[in-house]
Symmetry: C2
Amino acid sequence: MADTIPARPVVADTIPGRPVVAESVAGLGPVESVAVDGLEDQLARVALTWLAEPGNRAIWSLVQEVGAPAVLDRLIAGDVPDRKLRGSVAARLTAGDPRRFAEIALRRGERLGARLVVPSDPEWPRRLTDLATLELDTTGRYNHDIRPPLCFWVRGEWPLGRTLDRSIAIVGARAATDYGTNVTGDLAYSVACEGWTVLSGGAFGIDAAAHRGALAADGRTVAVLACGVERPYPAGNSALLERVAETGLLISEWPIGADPLRHRFLIRNRVIAAATAGTVVVEAAARSGATQTMSRVLALGRPAMVVPGPVTSAMSVGCHEILRSNPDARIVTSATEILEEVGRIGEYLADPPRGRERRHDRLDEESTLVMEALPANRSSTPELIAAEARLELPTVLRRLSLLEMAGLVVRAGNGYILRHSPSGTG
Amino acid sequence: MADTIPARPVVADTIPGRPVVAESVAGLGPVESVAVDGLEDQLARVALTWLAEPGNRAIWSLVQEVGAPAVLDRLIAGDVPDRKLRGSVAARLTAGDPRRFAEIALRRGERLGARLVVPSDPEWPRRLTDLATLELDTTGRYNHDIRPPLCFWVRGEWPLGRTLDRSIAIVGARAATDYGTNVTGDLAYSVACEGWTVLSGGAFGIDAAAHRGALAADGRTVAVLACGVERPYPAGNSALLERVAETGLLISEWPIGADPLRHRFLIRNRVIAAATAGTVVVEAAARSGATQTMSRVLALGRPAMVVPGPVTSAMSVGCHEILRSNPDARIVTSATEILEEVGRIGEYLADPPRGRERRHDRLDEESTLVMEALPANRSSTPELIAAEARLELPTVLRRLSLLEMAGLVVRAGNGYILRHSPSGTG
């Protein structure tokens, strides 16, 4: 059967057909390694997302244990412990052969320039692994089935993982006000200028303004769809989404041909929350999709950022609701404040500064080396700093611009100078 | 000399001339009781606020120890431990005799219908005692001299203490936007309708809108001035402030004739913070008077409430700044949310509900009796509840309306019904 499947239309550097090892789950300890054929794995993962919605807890766990092809076999054979899942899979099987469907989808994907990315690929985004252990306080099916994606369909040239490494989600209401879309455009433009990828959901209103802002900055933007990547939804945004595919990435967990069903947006939102370094909500109605996304961001412990608005605006009610009910949600009013928040995780600050602790008490190792390489009372060039700190020049330049943003160094002529005395830097 | 001082033009029930006992300080243990003649005490307190600005830490402590008249004697004699205070008092003494000044001020006050209220009076507002032990993290003179007032000049018929018992401060920028004044007017109107006194600083913009909102509701409002109560400042608000004096209260720590000097507003702000059950900032520029008031509210542990606004508005920058830098500051968007916050202290909830604790686990005694007097599954009238709970009817009505606001009971016909099952009420 494998010879009916097209070779992958790929940017990535994996060789189709090589045996791969199923991903292990961070925090869950070693998972049994299952050797699976690459093409067979792809086919099975696509078939599984056709048989059941992505995020399904039982399926994801089984895939970790025995690999996607074996799970597919078991589902087709009706060998499913979960009675509800067994029923829905049986119903779906009456609509066709999942393997056949997957083959067609992969062939169509190739023709349309869409590639499939699976966890064994180098470009698989690592942050999504946090969904493996996520538990939400709230009940309901979409709060239960929040496991990592089985695969991503991707349109666009950038490697998925590295594009998402420095990414910020900016999301919000479809029925946004001028205030909301203007603020969103400004924020997206500014964070894109700083080299961050702007991720959103491709919808009207705030989402579209976020993508447009990043495009206006010639920055990178990613739209996470809840349908096949061949049919940008909503249709009114298709020109915008085509531009996103050309200069950034259009991605989806759902196979080519999948419809944008209403509940899929709720399933998709966990990816927006988990794929990014932090999420900003600009405008949101009460108890809306954006507030649901935020509950996932908060549960993941990622920066949950909220732009306030007039209390007289229905489109800011959801924003204020999030701020009122979650002490961990942060009010943000500018791109600088957003970058401060996301900078806290994995960027230039290892941990959020608490109480009277000074910001540079918490610098990561590279930033500390850069700070220590700066003379106490005069400026130094990036080249000299690189030599002194024994770091690569691009690393030094990157750290310097982050340290500048953090207010710890300032530009002086061709170089940089410490803003504070260097005592306590270590 | 006492016979040159006018009898007090007073609503209060103290008899001028009777010996009184200086206030003790809550939380400081018993303070030495100093028997002082009432008129002599008044005169000395007025003279002291003429010699040095209210809030002075050294003077206040001395007054607690030896009484106001003795402190005045010592200041006049140059017997002051604090060298800086000694210098400024000496300079002031060259301008005239403080006792003579105080006599004139009290006589003018009587003519103008302004009374003097001192700590030994029954109408003295008790909450101000919290300033006795307040310490701020920030430095600077106005953050040091934050002790309770020595006296209040009052215009208006309501007893000061009871008027402030259920009071909320609503303050903000003078250069307010239409958004700010509209929101302020709405909030003040609504909280005044619920029987709360609206306190503000009498300034243009947010302050004026707060007073007007309360007046529109036929509610009570108090303006705390930073100059003599005979000369409402700013002049542009004099018609408004005269109306406040007629239907509410105009109050000040400064004697009749005192000018509204710039630094006096910063001294005055501690009274706004300490006199009320909570403070709402509607619009504020960065690092403005309103943010200074809020630092006192937060240090006092009172509800510090902030109305957000557009991030594009300079008049909301201070609001968002307060929210971002103080985890204890609460975002509020409606009168209901404000009443929830102030209800937490001394109203229907003994303590803020935490975690999963149910709100009615924390009811005060009267509310608990009312809840227990309600049948499990049908409504009851206030009269029947009063009989069952062995409470007065007005008390029952008041508790019912608070319980209704808290969502614990709902109106049903002529009576009320429990919203939740009564288990766990006790």
